[in-house]
């Protein structure tokens, strides 16, 4: 079984102006998704990320810049790592992501498994 990272892109709830009630609804949907995966015995693990401050360290001078999450175009809000046969199966899992209607996106990336050696070796 391969592993895929589902990366959740898009503004955080407060920046979208969601009310507490709406956030509670969203949470219910996330729990539903998680329960779905559990029922289908899909291993999944992940984290949500703070979106207030995004710090970047870049370049040979190690320049540090801080940006508010709301200023970033494709803000990473969190991720899951799921087990799936291939990209299609991972896409199927990503159907359950609750925030498409808010304009948010799931980016799917296969995790390289180094224990299997490099491809072609």
């Amino acid at each position: 079984m391969k592993k895929f990272m589902l990366i959740f892109l898009g503004p955080d709830y407060p920046d979208l102006g969601l009310s507490p009630e709406q956030m509670q609804e969203r949470m219910g949907k996330w729990q539903h998704w998680s329960e779905q995966m559990k029922a289908q015995r899909i291993e999944h693990d992940g984290k949500a990320l703070h979106t207030n401050t995004v710090r970047r360290v870049t370049g040979p001078d190690r320049t540090v810049t801080d940006q508010a999450g709301s200023e970033i175009k494709e803000l990473v809000g969190g991720y899951y790592i799921v087990s799936a046969k291939d990209y299609d199966a991972a896409t199927q899992i990503a159907q359950g992501f609750p925030d498409y209607d808010l304009g948010n996106t799931v980016e799917i990336r296969e995790v390289i498994d180094f224990s299997q050696g490099y491809p072609g070796t």
């Binding site: 955080d12 709830y13 407060p14 102006g17 969601l18 009310s19 507490p20 009630e21 709406q22 956030m23 509670q24 609804e25 969203r26 949470m27 219910g28 949907k29 996330w30 729990q31 539903h32 998680s34 329960e35 949500a48 207030n52 969190g78």
Partner: protein, 417 residues
């Protein structure tokens, strides 16, 4: 256990938000309202992230702890800005200050202050509804827009204006006392009454919108009733709560499954919610014992009279006309005259109903002129010709905006044949 199971976490976020916001505003001052709203939003967003996989064992306690931590952050940030905070931070550790702020008695007091603040007479009446839904009920801009059938931009403007007024006028976050309290109460009751009516007469097809608005108005009313700081000397508050109970009892019977309006005559009376009727009756007994009768006393009396009738035909129109006559003497309004005219039509009194209708100033009805034409249609149907009735219904149809009511009038026109 999942959060979308109804009842389990019944509006937990919304309720908690309103509580915490009141607590924070009481401590930091209403001029920091927007900043405090943002801080709390973050706390709830944090909870939605943390609870994605599983609910904590005690969700409410979890939220309170998170809110307290957030408050400590805010205290650190603002401790030097005012003397009051400085004192709080030097006399005792921050955690002790926070524990005090979150005491149950303090919460009730803070929520009461919030109600009086959003109903402050310096604010424009149209802003107050949106502002109350925002600060007392924790609605978002888009929720307010759909509840009050306004454009999101309009809501935003109203909220901004209300916050600016609070800052500019330096409005204090308090419950007035003595004669000031007596002076301020009518406006508070009016705002609650308007919120309730927005729900009761909502053009929204979604039943949940109606129920939420009515429910919020009733919840605020209940908070006022329970507050020891408020003595309902005139009984107006108690009567308003009775009125809301009576109307709310009919909420489910008022709209059919397709969202179409059902008038009083055709409502399934077995769908009326009896516990609310009983509650309303008990409140009314209480309300009539106090001082003078308010508009809410009379409106509740009228609603009670309708509920008392086993069928539409059994309605005691004479009694209802009597209540309306008294309502007119203390609060004359063209809407009351229209209602009373309908009562006299039902009671078979062509002269009095005609007099009332002829006395109504059409312009004073603004967007509700279609009701005037509708009343005339009823009059012609009862005492005149169906030709004239049809003409009036067509005028009414021409003037009506609300889609639901347009269907209702069209139905009446079709029934005339």
């Amino acid at each position: 256990m999942s959060a979308d199971q109804p009842g389990l976490l019944d509006h937990l976020f919304r309720r908690s938000y309103a509580k915490y916001l009141a607590i924070l505003v009481k401590h930091f001052g209403p001029d920091k309202l927007e900043l405090l709203e943002d801080a709390l939003q973050d706390t709830f967003a944090h909870a939605t992230h943390a609870w994605r996989e599983q609910l904590p064992e005690r969700p409410e306690a979890w939220l309170t702890t998170a809110a307290k931590r957030r408050t400590i952050d805010l205290l650190r940030r603002y401790s030097a800005t005012t003397a009051r905070h400085k004192r709080a931070s030097t006399d005792q550790p921050l955690s002790a200050t926070v524990e005090q702020l979150f005491l149950a008695s303090e919460v009730a007091d803070a929520e009461l202050r919030m109600i009086f603040t959003v109903c402050h007479p310096s604010l424009k009446p149209q802003d107050q509804l949106a502002f109350a839904l925002r600060c007392v009920s924790g609605f978002s801009g888009s929720e307010i827009a759909s509840a009050l059938l306004l454009k999101p931009d309009t809501v935003k403007k109203r909220l901004t204006r209300a916050r600016a007024t609070i800052r500019k006028r330096n409005i204090r976050f308090e419950v007035p006392t003595g004669s000031t309290l007596a002076k301020r109460m009518p406006r508070v009751l009016e705002v609650l009454y308007l919120i309730f009516n927005e729900g009761f007469h909502s053009a929204s097809r979604e039943r949940v919108v109606r129920e939420e608005l009515c429910g919020e108005a009733m919840r605020m009313c209940q908070q006022l009733l329970q507050a020891t700081a408020i003595q309902d000397a005139t009984g107006a508050l108690t009567a308003l709560m009775a009125l809301m109970c009576f109307h709310a009892a009919r909420l489910a019977a008022k709209v059919d499954d397709d969202g179409q309006l059902i008038d009083l005559k055709h409502q399934d009376r077995s769908k009326w919610h009896l516990p609310l009727v009983f509650r309303g009756n008990a409140l009314m007994h209480e309300a009539v014992k106090r001082g003078s009768f308010s508009v809410y006393h009379y409106e509740a009396a009228i609603a009670a009279e309708h509920l008392r009738a086993e069928s539409f035909a059994a309605t005691d129109w004479t009694q209802i006309a009597g209540w309306y006559e008294r309502l007119r003497t203390i609060a004359p309004s063209p809407m009351t005259d229209l209602s009373l005219a309908i009562v006299y039509i039902q009671n078979g009194n062509p002269v009095k109903s005609r007099q009332l209708l002829e006395g109504v100033e059409l312009n004073a009805l603004a967007s509700r002129q279609y009701l005037y034409h509708g009343c005339w249609a009823e009059w012609h149907k009862a005492f005149g010709s169906s030709h004239d009735a049809r003409q009036c219904l067509e005028k009414s149809l021409h003037a009506v905006v609300n889609e639901q009511e347009r269907c209702y009038i069209q139905g009446k026109l079709d029934a005339l044949g």
